[in-house]
């Protein structure tokens, strides 16, 4: 394998360091203007910057590091802790779908669901709870440390559940990887309000209709098959 052609290689023209320094105001005025002009006209660099801004928004709702004299927070949060945290932070994204039996892990390490939104010509990585517009195009990316069968379902503001991905009766295979784009994008309809998303990661190609039906019937409180783990997201359409 050529080191310059691995899947982890940076693919914008300006380095991540240079873009980070620009975003954080560490460049001189002339240099900053040069970078800003380039970013505004370069699709690869503007996409990279949008991704950076998305992560910055995520960090703003994460717990602060422990300070001396204050009890340390648990580094690896449990599923239940994540659930409580998410309820406290309305904009947070990861929480469990139901209280798990003691033997079952509902949220696995390394699992992730991300959403990219195209509004006009601008593409950005949406933060949880973000506002989007009817007509925006969205595409999902998932992170999974091992190959998994994946599906993305939604519960729209009118209480109707549907399957975003895949357009098939069963969850689709996705390889292990970080932010693997799902092959299917979609354009948002005109229903406004909060839309809930449910990403599921399973060990087998589970049938989706029972999950969709339960999601709709129980208005988001659907339980999952035993070999599945779930992540929840939401965005506001208006």
């Amino acid at each position: 394998m050529n080191l310059a052609a691995t899947p982890l290689c940076w693919n914008a023209c300006l380095s991540a360091l240079r873009l980070d320094r620009w975003m954080m105001g560490e460049l001189g005025a002339a240099d900053s203007e040069t970078v800003g002009t380039h970013v505004s006209t370069c699709a690869a660099c503007s996409t990279a910057v949008a991704g950076m801004r998305g992560v910055r928004e995520e960090v703003r709702v994460l717990p602060l590091p422990p300070v001396p004299g204050r009890p340390a927070t648990r580094r690896r949060v449990t599923a239940v802790t994540v659930a409580g945290l998410s309820l406290a932070l309305a904009a947070s994204l990861l929480f469990v779908l139901r209280t798990p039996p003691a033997t079952e892990r509902v949220k696995g390490p390394g699992l992730g669901l991300a959403m990219y939104v195209q509004h006009g010509t601008e593409v950005r990585r949406a933060a949880p709870g973000e506002t989007v517009s009817p007509g925006d195009a969205v595409r999902f990316a998932v992170s999974t440390p091992r190959p998994a069968f994946v599906a993305v379902l939604s519960l729209d503001p009118a209480g109707k559940a549907s399957v975003y991905f895949p357009q098939a009766p069963r969850a689709a295979q996705v390889p292990a990887g970080s932010e693997v784009p799902l092959p299917l994008g979609t354009r948002l309809d005109t229903t406004t309000g909060e839309e809930q998303l449910l990403g599921i990661f399973c060990a087998s190609a589970v049938e989706l209709e029972p999950i969709r039906e339960a999601l709709e019937r129980r208005q988001g409180a659907a339980s999952l098959p035993a070999d599945c783990q779930g992540l929840r997201w939401s965005f506001v359409k208006r």
Binding site: M1, N2, L3, A4, T6, P7, L8, C9, W10, N11, A12, L14, S15, A16, L17, R18, D20, R21, M24, E26, G51, M52, V55, R56, E58, V59, R60, L62, L64, P65, P66, V67, P68, A72, T73, R75, R76, G108, P109, G110, L111, G112, S143, T144, P145, R146, P147, A148, F149, Q173, V174, P175, A176, G177, S178, V180, A203, S204
Partner: protein, 162 residues
């Protein structure tokens, strides 16, 4: 620069994403990436002098993140920690080339000497020029070229013996 706990909390909010984003790429694990984020800023609370003398906070965070992540990858290699945590036995292998290749990159990074691995991370994963890598590693551009050449040789050899 005064770095009391309140200032470090503010720094965490404003600059933490620099750490989290790169740790996600390097480790391929959300839980491990968040742990690195917490570790770096917790260490900063204990020892604010670490960043006080740095010319660039972003540069210092790049160095700290790279160091922590390479250590995590090495621990994963020796203790098979990542494998135990992240690979559930019995799951169907799909053979996605992108995910497998990314995992292979991480495995091989753990095999490289720290300065060589850091040069690879900065140049290939962060897209830095040789001059930028040289600044973070505190060496000459020629040395960066040497480290990257050495990395490719070690990489090829590791792949052949894998």
């Amino acid at each position: 620069m005064i770095l009391d706990p309140a200032a470090i909390a503010s720094l965490y909010r404003s600059h933490g994403h620099v750490v989290l984003r790169r740790a996600r790429t390097l480790l391929g694990s959300e839980a491990d990436a968040r742990e690195v984020l917490q570790e770096i800023f917790t260490a900063l609370v204990r020892n604010p002098d670490a960043v006080r003398s740095a010319g660039s906070i972003v540069g210092w965070l790049y160095q700290a993140t790279t160091h922590h992540c390479l250590n995590t990858l090495r621990k994963a290699r020796t203790g098979a920690r990542v494998l135990e945590l992240h690979v559930r036995p019995g799951l169907t292998e799909i053979g996605g080339p992108r995910g497998e290749a990314a995992a292979e990159v991480r495995r091989l990074l753990a095999l490289l000497p720290e300065d060589v691995a850091a040069a690879v991370v900065y140049h290939h994963l962060d897209g830095m020029t040789h001059a930028e890598v040289a600044e973070l590693l505190g060496c000459s551009r020629r040395q960066v070229g040497y480290l990257l050449e050495r990395a490719q040789g070690l990489w090829d050899r590791a792949e052949q013996t894998a």
